[in-house]
Symmetry: C2
Subunit: 343 residues, 2 copies
DNA sequence: TTGTACGCGTTATCAA
DNA sequence: TTGATAACGCGTACAA
C-alpha cells in the first residue's frame, strides 16, 4: 500500500497555546473541560481554538491519556436497516460528546469474531463497546470483555443478567399488544409464526402472544403456531401451511416483517385477499412494512432510540453505579393489512 | 463522561523485541513488511508476535509514522441496504491489508457536511477516503479533499472527471439491457419512471431506456415517461398515472426497486394483475426485489463489489499513476413480475 | 542487515 | 489557577 503523503502544516495544540498566550497544558485543560481554569482564560483559549479551527489529534490523545474518545459499535446483519439505524443513533449521541463512533460490521457466524473484537480493542483502545443481537448474547464475547475490563452496553439482551447496562423494548408486551389488537378486531383464530429459536426475542414474542390469548379467554390451538426463521421464505411457507388447515386462521401474526411479507406473498399466490379474508401483522424490524401491499400492520421498534440510549449509558452513566436497564417505548402501527373481521 | 479505566498491561512492541531477542526497530520492520530483514529474523519476530498475540497500537503508529492504517467511508442514506453493503465491501478489502475502516454515516442534507468531514480528517488522519453518492458528486467536498491532498476514490460518480479514481457500473447499458429484455418479451408500450433528477444515475438510466427503444426501432412516446423521486410513493403515483392513460403500457420499468414496489402497490390497488396484465421491472438498489409480490425483475448492482474495488483503488493502486475508472458488471435478474405479452 | 536516538501531539504528574 | 517536564508506543533518520 502506498498512500498519499501527509498534507502540510496541521494546527496543533502548541499553535493554539501561542495564539492564546497560555501554556499547552492550559489549552488541554480547556479541551477536556477540566475544572480550575479561570473563566477568562477558558474563553481566551476557546476563541483561539475557534480562530485556528483546531481539532485535537485523536491518536495523540489516545496515546497520552487514559481515553481514546472513541467507542465501538459491534453489529452484524439481522437487517441492514437495523444496523444502519443503530449506527445513526449511536453516532448522534457520540457527536454530543465529541466522541467518535467506530462502527464494526461483523458476519453473523464468523469464527474469528472474538479475535476480531480483541484486535479492535488492542488497536484502537476504544473507551467502550456497544453490542447488538446476536452478539449481545454471546457468552464468550461477554466473558472476554469482562476479563479485559472493557465497559460495554448490551442492546436487546436475551437474559436478565445485570452485570452490564442494557437497552431494550418489552418484546412480550409488544407482542401481547398486537394480539390484543387482532382480538379487538374480532379475530378468534389467529395464526402465529415464531422467529428463529436462537433469538431471545423470538421466545419473548411468542410468550406475549400466548399471554394475550389467555387474558382474553381465547383457547390456544397449537395447530395455529408455527416456527419460521425470520426469513421471507419461511413466512410464505408457514403461512401456506396455516391457510391449508381445515379451519384456517382469519389473521396471521408473524414475528417480524420479512416473514409477514412472506405471508402476504403466500396469500397473493393462493388467491386469499388481504385484508378482506386475512389480516396480516408483524414486527417492523427491517422497514419493509410500508413497501409491500397492503402495507403491514406492525409493532415498530425504535431502533435509533435504542442505540442512542445505549450510547448514553456508555458515555453519561456513572461506571460505578449499578448497571441500568433502560426500556424504550414501542409503537403499534396499524395499516391496511388488517381489518375488522367481516360478519 | 467517565469511562472505565485502562485494563492492565498491554503487549507492546518492546515486549515482542525482548521475546524475539532483537531490537524494537527490527520488530517494526517486520510489522511493516520492510525489506532488508533476514528471513530467519523475520520468522523469529513473527513467532514472537504470534506467541504474545501482539497487535500494534494504531494511535502510536499514526502519531509516529506517515500512515494511520485507517481509511474513511463517507456515506449517507439512499438506502440502508446500500450503505451496509458498501461497508462490508470496504471492510473486506481493508481486512486483507490490516487497515481499519472508519465508516461515517452522514445525513444527506446536513449543512455541516464539510465541517464534519474536515473534523474527521483532522482527528483521525485517515490515509484515504471513499465517497458514495450523492457526496461523490459534491463539488465542495471534492475541492476540499483536493486542496488538502487527501487521497480519495469516488463510487458511482456522475461526471467523467478523471482527477480521482472511481468505481461504477454502466447505468445506461444496464437500463438499455432491461428495456431490451422487455421488448424481447413482446412489449411495445413500456412505461418508464425516472428517479430524482439530482442523481446522475437517474439521467443515465433514462438515457439507456431511450437508446434501447431507438435501437429496436420502437417509437418513443413522451406520455410513457414520468419522473418520480426514487421513493415508494412516487412509484405508486406515477404508475397510477400511466395506467390511467387511454392507451396504458403493458410494462412499467421503474428506475429503482422502491418505485417498482410502488408500481406493484398501485397495480394491486387498481386490480391490474401482475404479470398477466402488466410486467414490472426495476433496479435492485435496496434489496426489496425479493420481498414483494410478485418478486421484481431487476438489474442488480453489485454494491459490495463496487465497494471492494473502491477500497482496492485506495489501498493497492499506485498513487502516482493516472486515476483509474473501474467498471463492475451488473446483472439482469428475471423474476415473476415480468412475462411474455399474451397474444 | 541491524540498532540507537529522537520526535510525533497530547495528557499526567508534580511543582509553583 | 497555571506551567514545566516526562511519558505514551511506535516509525524515521541515520549510524553501525
Amino acid at each position: 500500500m502506498a498512500m498519499g503523503e501527509k498534507t502540510g502544516a496541521r494546527v496543533t495544540i502548541r499553535d493554539v497555546s501561542r495564539e492564546a498566550g497560555v501554556s499547552i497544558k492550559t489549552v488541554s485543560r480547556v479541551l477536556n473541560k477540566e475544572p480550575y481554569v479561570r473563566k477568562a482564560t477558558r474563553e481566551k483559549v476557546a476563541a483561539a481554538v475557534a480562530r485556528l479551527n483546531f481539532r485535537p489529534n485523536l491518536a495523540a490523545r489516545s496515546l497520552a491519556g487514559r481515553r481514546s474518545h472513541q467507542i465501538a459499535l459491534i453489529c452484524d446483519n439481522p437487517s441492514p436497516y437495523y444496523v444502519y439505524e443503530m449506527q445513526l443513533g449511536v453516532r448522534d449521541r457520540c457527536a454530543a460528546d465529541g466522541v467518535r463512533m467506530i462502527a464494526q460490521p461483523y458476519d453473523r457466524d464468523s469464527p474469528r469474531l472474538i479475535a476480531d473484537i480483541e484486535a479492535l480493542l488492542d488497536e484502537t483502545h476504544v473507551d467502550g463497546v456497544i453490542l447488538t443481537p446476536p452478539v449481545t448474547d454471546d457468552a464468550a464475547v461477554l466473558a472476554m470483555l469482562a476479563r479485559r475490563g472493557v465497559r460495554h452496553v448490551r442492546v436487546s439482551p436475551g437474559d436478565d443478567d445485570t452485570s452490564a447496562p442494557a437497552t431494550l423494548i418489552d418484546n412480550e408486551g409488544a407482542s401481547a399488544a398486537m394480539t390484543a389488537h387482532l382480538l379487538a378486531l374480532g379475530h378468534r383464530r389467529i395464526g402465529f409464526i415464531a422467529g428463529h429459536p436462537s433469538y431471545a426475542a423470538s421466545h419473548q414474542r411468542q410468550a406475549g402472544h400466548a399471554r394475550a390469548l389467555a387474558e382474553a379467554g381465547v383457547a390456544f390451538d397449537p395447530a395455529l403456531v408455527r416456527t419460521g426463521d425470520y426469513g421471507f421464505g419461511s413466512g410464505a411457507e408457514q403461512a401456506a401451511a396455516l391457510l391449508a388447515l381445515a379451519e384456517p386462521p382469519t389473521a396471521i401474526f408473524a414475528s417480524n416483517d420479512e416473514m409477514a411479507a412472506g405471508v402476504l406473498a403466500a396469500a397473493h399466490r393462493l388467491g386469499v385477499r388481504v385484508p378482506e379474508a386475512l389480516s396480516v401483522a408483524g414486527f417492523d424490524d427491517s422497514a419493509l412494512a410500508g413497501f409491500v401491499w397492503p402495507p403491514l400492520t406492525t409493532v415498530r421498534q425504535p431502533v435509533r432510540e435504542l442505540a442512542y440510549q445505549a450510547a448514553d449509558l456508555l458515555l453519561a452513566s456513572d461506571p460505578e453505579a449499578d448497571p441500568e436497564r433502560r426500556a424504550v417505548a414501542y409503537e403499534l402501527v396499524v395499516r391496511g393489512s388488517t381489518a375488522h373481521l367481516a360478519g
